[in-house]
């Protein structure tokens, strides 16, 4: 572990580790990943992250905002590499953390975790430039083949612990009144609440006619919301007890979206995933598809995967007892975007994407449901799972409480300029070099 911790420290400082160490790391990572199913089960609390694309300094900002590993559990939904300048540093750090804390961090595959895509979008070039050969690229691609295709988050709480309040007993009386629960909260990178929404608390007997009450317009910081005082990430840990029992469905996390070939989560489990991402088929779709404001399915302008509409999401969620699909894959200017009545959310974690998009990034924290003493109903998305509370026509699958932490690009003044400039091929003194 000593070596691994040293490697982590070195990568955190944005310094690469030697090629032999990369090789060893990738070998260990593969041993670990091969044991994971195509759909990894993850217990809440967990913090879900979207595309990183080699924006290393922003990944550090993400950890600052969301809490460090292993204090916070993380689930990264792929696209670690390409386009950015630090794909190697970013991916290798995440991989080190995975090997070091396998139960604390989950990595699933994005469409960029592919040989063909990385040769085009930069990661291959970066490996050549930084290591002088394609070896490291090859090691990394072998790891890509073993990454899970999705994850299922279980045991989420339908209710968020109001930020900061858990730290201060004297404020208990200011908790929202008993008939509503905090459903969504958006925090800026300073931990200030910029938006929250409540919904009626669900009891065993009442139906859920979720009528959201927005207590503060977006961008407005409500005075009753104190600044967050706890350690980063603790907001999602849902330590507070006493929440009412209400069942939340599982949350499916996948990089792109749904596939017309996949109608149950179990079908994902049947895929032989240990391969390069194919150009078509279920595996491809999971990594390439996008939700869109259409009915049914549409062909994707990306040329891979499909577009899928709100009806598809509703049916899929209903059939699989899911309350939410979390996915990444598309830049959203506000960092996250819920669609189709909250049935799917896009989480994007690369702020000011490509140095120019001007977007903010976000991560999504899902708290733990402690109402059953911490035991999780293991449904894994199967049919007819028992729940002990709701019966009948499944009216009671509630979406989990969702806390979005929004953050901006990391400050850039601390990055050092490289001492010398490698000469680009086309400009080498000797023509033979071309």
């Amino acid at each position: 572990m000593g070596d691994l911790d040293r490697a982590i420290a070195q990568l955190r400082a944005c310094r690469l580790i030697p090629e032999t160490q990369v090789r060893e790391l990738c070998y260990k990572a593969r041993e670990l990943l091969i044991e994971e199913g195509n759909v990894v089960c993850v217990d809440a609390p967990v913090t879900i992250c979207g595309d990183i694309h080699g924006q290393f300094h922003d990944l550090m900002e993400l950890f600052r905002v969301g809490g460090d590993v292993p204090d916070t559990n993380y689930l990264f939904m792929g696209d670690f590499v390409d386009r950015g300048f630090y794909s190697l540093e970013s991916f290798l750090l995440l991989l080190c953390l995975k090997v070091r804390y396998p139960d604390r961090i989950t990595l699933i595959r994005g469409n960029h975790e592919s040989r063909q895509i990385t040769t085009v979008y930069g990661f291959y070039d970066e490996c050549i430039r930084k290591y002088g050969s394609a070896n490291v690229w090859r090691y990394c691609c072998e790891v890509f083949d073993y990454l899970a295709l999705g994850a299922l988050v279980l045991g989420t709480s339908s209710e968020l612990e109001p930020t900061g309040l858990a730290m201060n007993d004297s404020t208990q009386s200011t908790m929202p009144i008993d008939d509503v629960e905090l459903e969504t909260e958006v925090l800026n990178s300073k931990g200030e609440v910029t938006y929250s929404s409540y919904r009626p608390r669900q009891s065993a007997s009442s139906d859920t006619s979720a009528e959201n009450r927005n207590i503060s317009p977006s961008g407005d910081i409500p005075s009753q919301a104190p600044l967050r005082t706890g350690a980063p990430g603790t907001g999602a840990s849902g330590e507070g007890g006493g929440s009412y029992s209400s069942r939340t469905g599982a949350v499916l996390c996948v990089h792109g979206g749904l596939s017309p070939l996949i109608d149950t989560v179990d079908k994902i489990r049947l895929i032989d995933r240990k391969q390069e991402v194919p150009h078509e088929g279920a595996m491809c779709d999971l990594l390439w598809s996008d939700p869109d404001e259409i009915d049914g399915w549409g062909l994707s302008p990306r040329g891979a995967g499909f577009l899928f509409g709100g009806d598809i999401v509703k049916q899929f969620n209903y059939r699989n007892d899911l309350s939410l699909i979390a996915r990444a894959h598309q830049l959203v200017m506000e960092g996250y975007k819920e669609m189709f009545d909250g049935g799917i959310v896009t989480v994007w974690s690369a702020p000011n994407y490509c140095y120019r998009c001007g977007n903010v990034a976000s991560i999504l924290e899902l708290g733990e449901d402690t109402s059953n003493g911490g035991t999780v109903t293991r449904s894994n998305g199967d049919y007819g799972r028992s729940n002990g509370v709701m019966t009948g026509d499944k009216p009671g699958v509630r979406s989990p409480g969702r806390r979005y932490r929004v953050f901006e690009a990391a400050a850039q003044d601390t990055r050092g300029m490289p001492a010398k400039k490698p000469v680009a091929d086309y400009f080498l003194p000797s023509q033979q070099a071309i």
């Binding site: 390069e276 150009h279 120019r356």
Partner: protein
């Protein structure tokens, strides 16, 4: 340096009196292997000839009396002919359309849907714009066959391809190439006055191309167009290429009419290539130089260390052998990374002016040397060409403009996406039968992938019908 017989080579013009048949431009590059055929075509030779001809004209001139004349932007030394002024008017009318197109509110994705509105306006106005700004004897030059098309059909193709991709809402070097070709087409049709070597060429660059680039920068900035085919930090520039060619020529050593294009050295006392990394130097030089003008735009839109977000330009700033060396490298790179890349040139359409026919002297064309050797460094199993538009997402055609649902932005396009069935990349996986059809492209180089529909969807603005469209429906979907 041996004198090169090709020094004074210029793009040949067409003598219409000898009879000519215009053709409706058509797509010829359907699979990666077609690119090598393209590199042997008359069109390729013509494009490179025109580019090199313009490039040469931008080097400072050395006169017999020893006097040196440079060709800065906004300089006094060039005089614009009537055709150039007409083209400037054309651009300014398109700029007026831009100013008259307000942004659409409430966009949550990157690009703004108003781009499509502007694009539609340009398309709608194109016949009248071209009629106003091009002489009738050029625009309506007739085929020998009276029933054949006029030159307009070819000019329109390249003109329309110059304004970015409506569907993808992006812009890249393929669109830039289309504009260059548009100008080349006018040249071939004798649309520019005959003049001493270089005189008309440099007014094309300074008087038309630079204003075009400026206009496109305004378009990109206003609508937040995605880079088509951007490789992120690993490419030269998100959107354009030719300003780096002409801009480096502007700073090269002076040449006389008989000198070959220099391969090393710089004009004396000009800005050092390292200046691109200094914001204040860029701010000064962008007023007079196209290379710096392009870098100035990068600085305008990007936030972050230059060496990081533009590492290739940063590396090039370390070239010791002068601006001429940079110029030469840029041309090689353009050849290899633009003209030899399937994702870019697959959208190019070929007619009579830029013809798919094999050039008589084309053996294996020089560009293949770079492209193939460049590819050798690539792993075997991956396709040799890069993809296209990683960037942006494409707006789904069925999302109506009134909904203002912009395209999935900043998305990645599958490298194989644009390949047609049977024209897949040379990987073991064949192009799936359904997906290739998703990438039908409307006219114009780099034109976007057509987003096919779910079968029940109205075709919407989808530009071309695709008989092979078959939407897979989920079994449980209605």
């Amino acid at each position: 340096m041996a004198t090169d017989g090709l020094i004074a080579r210029v793009l040949p013009t067409i003598d219409l009196s000898e009879g000519h048949t215009f053709l409706v431009p058509s797509k010829r590059i359907n699979e990666t292997d077609d690119v090598s055929e393209f590199l042997c075509s008359k069109a390729y030779v013509d494009i490179m000839t025109f580019l090199l001809q313009l490039n040469r004209s931008m080097f400072p001139a050395k006169f017999p009396d020893g006097r040196v004349q440079t060709w800065p932007l906004n300089g006094e030394a060039v005089e614009f002919s009537a055709p150039i002024r007409q083209l400037q008017q054309l651009l300014s009318k398109i700029e007026d359309l831009l100013d008259a197109t307000p942004l659409e509110p409430g966009e949550w994705r990157y690009a703004n849907g108003a781009f499509k509105v502007w694009h539609d306006k340009v398309k709608k106005e194109t016949p009248s714009l071209l009629a106003e700004c091009l002489p009738a004897e050029i625009l309506h030059a007739r085929s020998s066959d009276p029933d054949g098309p006029t030159a307009e059909v070819e000019l329109t193709e390249y003109f329309l391809g110059s304004w970015g991709s409506r569907e993808r809402m992006d812009y890249g070097t393929g669109h830039e190439l289309s504009f260059l070709t548009f100008l080349g087409a006018i040249w071939k049709l004798n649309g520019f006055p005959k003049n001493s070597p270089g005189v008309e060429e440099r007014t094309i660059v300074l008087g038309v191309i630079e204003p075009y680039l400026e206009l496109m920068r305004a378009v990109i900035k206003k609508f937040k167009l995605e880079p088509a085919g951007s490789h992120g930090v690993w490419g030269l520039d998100d959107h354009s290429f030719i300003p780096y060619i002409f801009g480096s020529a502007q700073l090269g050593p002076p040449i006389s009419d008989s000198d070959p294009v220099p391969e090393t050295g710089s004009l004396s006392d000009v800005v050092n290539p390292h200046g691109v990394t200094k914001a204040n130097v860029v701010e000064e030089e962008r007023k007079v130089n196209m290379y710096f003008s392009a870098i100035g735009f990068i600085n305008d839109v990007k936030k972050g260390p230059f060496w990081e977000h533009s590492q290739m330009l940063y590396d090039i700033s370390g070239v010791q052998a002068g601006w001429a060396k940079i110029n030469k490298g840029m041309i090689k790179m353009y050849n290899a990374e633009v003209l030899s890349k399937f994702p870019v040139v697959q959208h190019f359409r070929f007619g009579s002016l830029f013809s798919w026919d094999r050039h008589p002297s084309a053996i294996p064309p020089p560009p293949r040397i770079h492209s193939s050797s460049g590819q050798e460094t690539r792993p075997r199993q991956v396709p040799t060409t890069t993809l296209q538009d990683p960037g942006p997402g494409t707006k789904a055609p069925w999302a109506t403009a009134s909904q203002s649902i912009p395209p999935p932005s900043a998305g990645t396009t599958a490298p194989w996406a644009t390949a047609r069935a049977g024209g897949g990349p040379s990987t073991t996986t064949r192009v799936p039968p359904v997906l290739p059809d998703t990438s039908r492209l409307p006219p114009g180089p780099m034109a976007p992938t057509r987003a096919p529909w779910a079968s029940s969807q109205p075709a919407g603005p989808a530009p071309t019908g695709n008989p092979n469209d078959s939407t897979t429906k989920a079994p449980w979907a209605k």
